[in-house]
Subunit: 114 residues, 2 copies
């Protein structure tokens, strides 16, 4: 079978309430990942696109975060309401959603920015 054309990793890390860095899934519900998985299935893309939960992606202050490979497209502040357009526009259409994109300058700065 071919490799995945898009492989989405959704941070499902959960920390205790009040942790200074926060976390992407404070309720531990994996709801965002499950919504993306369901949208992929609904559109019949499961053979070539996969949404995985992942451990801490280390962009905690910008969460909820996900990363889409192979392009390494980082999205932050993602909500379930964004799932449909992420799948339709980015995964299928190859277009970046500027309002969700984490700029390279902010990556791996632990929320301190460039």
């Amino acid at each position: 079978m071919p490799k995945f054309t898009s492989h989405v990793f959704v941070c499902c890390n959960r920390r205790s309430p009040g942790h200074p860095r926060g976390c992407c899934d404070p309720e531990g519900s994996e709801a965002l990942r499950n919504a993306i998985k369901a949208e992929i299935q609904r559109r019949g893309l499961s053979c070539t696109v996969r949404a995985n939960k992942s451990g801490c992606l280390d962009q905690c202050e910008l969460g909820p975060t996900l990363v889409i490979y192979p392009g390494q497209i980082w999205y932050g502040g993602v909500s379930i309401g964004d799932v449909s357009r992420i799948v339709e526009q980015t995964i299928i259409g190859g277009r970046i959603l500027d309002d969700l994109l984490i700029d390279d300058a902010w990556l791996n700065t632990k929320g301190k920015g460039p």
Copy 2:
């Protein structure tokens, strides 16, 4: 900060003993992921290389599995004894380890092969 030059996702999925597909981390120890993380730290690569645990990567029969992005290099049957050469040869050196590589023809076939 720059994007990751290598982002490793290590399947830490755990299933009940006797599950027909098996799983990558039957003891739930996350030992393989932790060993890769430690090797990355030991070599001072933490700013540009990250090893994450992930949910089921769906190559269960070929496990323990991991995938290295952005190249989408799939390795199977990985043991802790392989960690040093994965980091040195593949992540640093860019060379594929043929004895660990999961051929595209075997990917996403649920162990049935091409």
